[in-house]
């Protein structure tokens, strides 16, 4: 896979995003890069509220119309609560309160819609990713999107490192060693996995 033909500015692939990857995109000035890969990015209403609560309202507004907040249908609300409870009970979760996982749960419910069967969920948190995989949802974290952007020639490996470092210094939970490992993969492909 080494061709820019995967990328179509008006391309057919959309993403549903959880709060974390979008904050990482805003922190590293990478939202425009996301729009080079995805035709549209949808967030749940809870995720939108979380973004605003964390101070990213201006960025959310500027991202329209590429970033769209999508409400859940009434029948989807209980499904989201069940998923939030599963995340809260997962061994990798540090927060056992289900309501605090409604953002990622709602994102999963949206990603499970038939219209998104050929699309992808953006999700970084380990516990939520495990639940998403159980439900056969195709997913990527924000660093995975950056890695693909390097492989497609949209950014350099050095730019990937700078962007992940920007996220880290602003508080996102990407460690120095994690960033170094991803940078090395971006520079030369995967090492011991």
């Amino acid at each position: 896979m080494s061709t820019l033909s995967l990328i179509n500015p008006m391309g057919p692939t959309c993403a549903v995003s959880n709060t974390g990857p979008l904050i990482s995109a805003f922190q590293s000035n990478s939202f425009k890069l996301l729009t080079q890969i995805f035709a549209e990015i949808q967030v749940s209403k809870v995720c939108q509220a979380e973004l605003i609560r964390h101070g990213w309202e201006a960025e959310v507004k500027a991202a329209f119309p590429k970033l769209v907040a999508v409400p859940l249908a009434g029948a989807e609300e209980p499904q989201a609560l069940i998923i939030a409870q599963q995340i809260a009970r997962h061994p990798h979760t540090k927060d056992p309160v289900a309501e605090n996982h409604l953002g990622e749960a709602q994102a999963m419910v949206i990603a499970l819609r038939a219209e998104h069967s050929q699309n992808l969920l953006l999700l970084d948190e380990l516990a939520a990713r495990a639940i998403a995989k159980q439900r056969q949802i195709k997913l990527s974290g924000f660093p995975g999107v950056l890695l693909l952007a390097v492989q497609l020639g949209l950014i350099s490996a050095e730019e990937l490192k700078v962007r992940l470092d920007h996220c880290r210094v602003q508080g996102t939970h990407y460690s120095v060693s994690f960033i170094q490992q991803v940078y090395e993969m971006a520079s030369s492909g995967p090492r011991q996995r």
Binding site: P12, Q118, H173, Q181
Partner: protein
């Protein structure tokens, strides 16, 4: 200006190995969607050309082809 913060700053995130898998999965999704979006044209070719192309296939491709041909023959024989 309102200060900016992150969401769930202590939550465990994916490993570097998973980042590689993520990128591969994303590439696969993009590729499949690019193919789906691509216009399709019908290309009539002589059967002899199709058969000669089989000579370029390797072992695994030929096994897949054989399975496919057997399935098609089975379908045709029961229809």
């Amino acid at each position: 200006m309102k200060s900016k913060s992150v969401h769930e700053p202590t939550a465990a995130v994916m490993s570097a190995a998973e980042v590689w898998e993520d990128a591969q999965q994303l590439a696969e999704v993009l590729q499949q969607n690019a193919w789906r979006a691509e216009p399709v044209v019908k290309l009539p070719i002589p059967l002899s050309i199709l058969l000669s192309l089989l000579d370029t296939l390797g072992w695994e491709e030929l096994i897949k082809l054989r399975q496919h041909v057997e399935e098609r023959l089975s379908m045709l024989s029961t229809s």
